[in-house]
């Protein structure tokens, strides 16, 4: 059989690829978060570098365009002293007809140690992880609608930073959950780390009832969804979803689900507001909230670098060969 065990773990149960938060034990998630704590201070130092990945090569393979995520991975790798090579496959080999696995084989021959992969198709990093040389590690930087595990982990880091303990938390994820890999990763992270309640909030076109089977409460009403929450995560509404069969218009979406200062009062007074970015001000979230006292959107970005450093250093330290 192709996969006898979780393809992210080696025979000792250590993380060798980060493909999805789903299926990882809480101990590994905590290990990533604890390791990231140490790297947060590196980012505050005069010389923001540690030599953990000196001499290693990190290839950023972006089959789908992204500036922000790629940049944070690049910074994280450089702070670990790795050599970083950025490849926008969307603009190179794929458009020349080279297959995904041929691209991977070619880059492996250039002595890559870590592939950071973003792809528009769910599951693509699994295919890559199955075909890379045994010493190569794969980190999923977002695949289709499936998973964005480093974003999920940085969200967990942010929540833990402000709320300390998950066991009493109610977390609401508001918006286009159906198409969101961030939402899926957050759900798996929160349920694994033991959050008391996770809610997903949005219209039925964007929040399907099947989500309940992931261990969340499905709400179609914003007040019900964020009432007494400790954490509100607003999701980005993609431009292409704003008008069509999923939603009539951005304005109508904002009328029912936009996060405003008044509506945020439904949540607990000390609730924090998160967003994976980039933000559409006035569509899913009001500027008042983005820039308000409860917003931790910018700290998320800062923590993201530490979390990505933690993930890269951890997988690179675990033996992926059989």
């Amino acid at each position: 059989m192709l996969y006898r065990r979780n393809p992210q773990l080696n025979k000792n149960g250590e993380l060798v690829h980060l493909l999805s938060i789903e299926g990882l034990p809480a101990s590994i998630l905590r290990q990533v978060l604890d390791t990231a704590e140490n790297f947060v201070s590196v980012n505050d130092r005069e010389v923001k570098k540690v030599p953990l990945l000196r001499g290693r090569s990190v290839f950023n393979l972006f089959f789908e365009n992204s500036t922000r995520t790629r940049t944070t991975f690049e910074i994280a790798a450089k702070r670990l002293s790795a050599d970083v090579i950025n490849l926008d496959i969307a603009r190179s080999s794929a458009s020349k007809g080279e297959s995904l696995l041929d691209t991977i084989a070619n880059l492996s021959a250039m002595a890559a140690d870590i592939f950071v992969v973003r792809h528009s198709e769910s599951g693509a990093p699994y295919l890559i992880a199955k075909h890379v040389a045994p010493h190569v590690h794969v980190i999923n930087a977002g695949d289709g609608r499936h998973s964005h595990p480093t974003q999920g982990l940085l969200d967990m880091f942010t929540i833990r930073h402000y709320k300390k303990d998950f066991s009493n938390l109610t977390v609401a994820i508001v918006g286009d959950v159906l198409h969101s890999r961030v939402a899926r990763s957050d759900i798996h992270g929160l349920t694994t780390l033991g959050a008391a309640e996770v809610r997903v909030v949005g219209p039925k076109t964007l929040v399907p009832a099947d989500l309940a089977q992931m261990g969340v409460r499905v709400c179609h009403n914003l007040e019900e969804g964020i009432r007494d929450c400790d954490v509100v995560i607003a999701l980005r509404l993609q431009n292409e979803r704003m008008s069509g069969a999923l939603l009539p218009s951005a304005q109508e979406y904002f009328t029912s689900y936009g996060l405003t200062r008044e509506r945020l009062q439904w949540a607990k007074p000390d609730a924090i507001v998160m967003h994976p970015g980039p933000i559409n001000r006035g569509v899913e979230i009001d500027s008042d909230v983005v820039d308000g006292a409860q917003s931790v959107i910018l700290p998320q970005v800062t923590f993201g670098i530490a979390v990505r450093m933690a993930v890269m250093s951890l997988v690179a330290g675990n033996d992926a060969s059989e």
Binding site: M1, L2, Y3, N6, P7, E22, S99, L100, L101, H119, E121, S122, G123, A124, Y126, L127, H131, D143, G144, R145, H146, S147, L178, R181, R184, P208, D210, L211, Q213, M214
Partner: protein, 430 residues
């Protein structure tokens, strides 16, 4: 050639015959079952002790990839795989390259397959030219060229008006129309809708894609009087509609694939593209309904839905990979596995592989002559002799098909085909 098959358990599902008996074959026909006349001198004697002697299998869905893959000698390899699986007659869908929409292409396929002296090939003609759903094909000429029915393979028709016209025209001449019920718009996903699709972030195909299509087809059958064979049902709700239509007396038959009989969506595991199939694998209760419906006769036939896919087309992200799996060699073993697990009689397990599918082909006019799908004295000598006991493990290397992908890889199967006889000639010997 005269063949004597000695000492086997002869099972003919349509008559219910099930006894240890000798079978004598000569001049392409079964001469006798039971007592063999003393003046029968066989050129070849088969010792079938411990084996089951059954009618050759009739598989209603085998893609031979011809026309289209002549350079890869695929016709040879896939027909060799079929006879190795005990299949003596197969129906191939029209979604070849080019599409089987002209008599010349059908004649060429039949000519080339007959030259190989393996199993019988019964092509389905395209219902519309190039399967585009605009212009009807020349069904009369295609039938004369050897087509046993007409269909759209996996390409849904763009409008109900075209479907109605096609059913009316086909029924004028008594031809069967073979349709895989799937709504064109709702059917654009890659896995079954449900918790798994949602969790994995893969586009889902709702059950309604199948039920809406069946509703439409059944409604238009009533007004057109056409005979329809529904291919590859996937859902419990779809089977309920079939059951109702059959109770109403409509000339409707249907089949299901070995994949839907044994697997469900969670078998996709970690985006395993070998489980990328059309129709998609559905949920536990659908599989339970399919297994029950195959046993009780709501589903007429079990098919392999053999669709060999190149390595390059499978080693892609799940949604980009080509749907399909190699299966024709697994048909018998998977039927017996189902029968054993569910306590279904051997007679029924063989019926869904032999006489029932043969009747479906015959209903479309130009079916096999004589008694293919049956074992009767004087009938066509298409037989499969298999040993029900040996266990073997399915691996890519064990498959004769050029397609090496199957979601059943690693499964253990009982039974091994030992001899396959087509038209009185030994086509396969293990």
């Amino acid at each position: 050639m005269k063949i004597l098959i000695q000492g086997g358990r002869v099972v003919d599902p349509s008559s219910g015959f099930d006894q240890l008996a000798d079978v004598a074959v000569a001049a392409g026909r079964i001469v006798s079952i039971g007592a063999v006349s003393s003046d029968f001198h066989a050129n070849k004697t088969i010792d079938a002790q411990g084996c089951v002697v059954a009618p050759g299998l009739v598989d209603l869905a085998v893609r031979l990839r011809e026309p289209g893959h002549e350079h890869a000698r695929m016709l040879q390899s896939e027909m060799a795989a079929a006879v190795a699986g005990g299949v003596t007659s197969l129906v191939c869908p029209p979604d070849t390259d080019p599409v089987l929409d002209e008599p010349g292409l059908v004649e060429m396929l039949r000519y080339r397959s007959e030259k190989l002296h393996q199993c019988r090939v019964f092509p389905l003609g395209a219902l519309t030219r190039s399967l585009r759903g605009e212009v009807l094909t020349e069904m009369v000429s295609l039938t004369q060229a050897g087509c046993v029915g007409f269909g759209q393979a996996d390409v849904p028709l763009p409008s109900l008006k075209i479907l109605l016209r096609a059913l009316q025209y086909a029924s004028t001449f008594g031809y069967s129309v073979w349709l895989r019920p799937q709504d064109r718009d709702l059917g654009t996903g890659v896995v079954a809708s449900g918790p798994l699709a949602t969790r994995m972030g893969l586009a889902g195909i709702p059950v309604a894609a199948e039920t809406i299509a069946i509703y439409s087809i059944v409604a238009l059958m009533r007004s057109s009087g056409a005979r329809v064979h529904l291919c590859r049902l996937s859902s419990a709700a779809g089977l309920d509609l079939v059951r109702q239509a059959k109770a109403e007396g409509l000339p409707l038959t249907c089949d299901v694939s070995i994949h839907s009989l044994h697997l469900i969506d969670t078998d996709i595991g970690y985006f395993d593209s070998r489980s990328h199939l059309k129709p998609p694998l559905r949920q536990q209760r659908d599989r339970d309904a399919i297994r029950g419906a195959l046993a009780d006769g709501t589903i007429d036939a079990l098919v392999s839905d053999h669709s060999p896919v190149d390595e390059d087309q499978k080693t892609l992200p799940f949604a980009e990979s080509e749907a399909g799996a190699s299966a024709v060699e697994l048909l018998l073993g998977m039927a017996l596995k189902w029968a054993e697990a569910d306590g279904v009689a051997l007679r029924r397990a063989l019926e869904v592989l032999t006489s029932a599918p043969a009747d479906i082909i015959r209903a479309g006019h130009a079916g096999p002559r004589g008694g293919a799908g049956r074992l009767v004295a004087g009938g066509v000598a298409d037989l499969c002799v298999y040993d029900p006991y040996p266990e073997w493990v399915i691996t890519a290397n064990n498959l004769r098909s050029q397609g090496k992908h199957t979601p059943f890889s690693g499964y253990a199967l009982r039974s091994r085909v030992r001899w396959t006889i087509v038209g009185g000639t030994l086509a396969f010997e293990a």
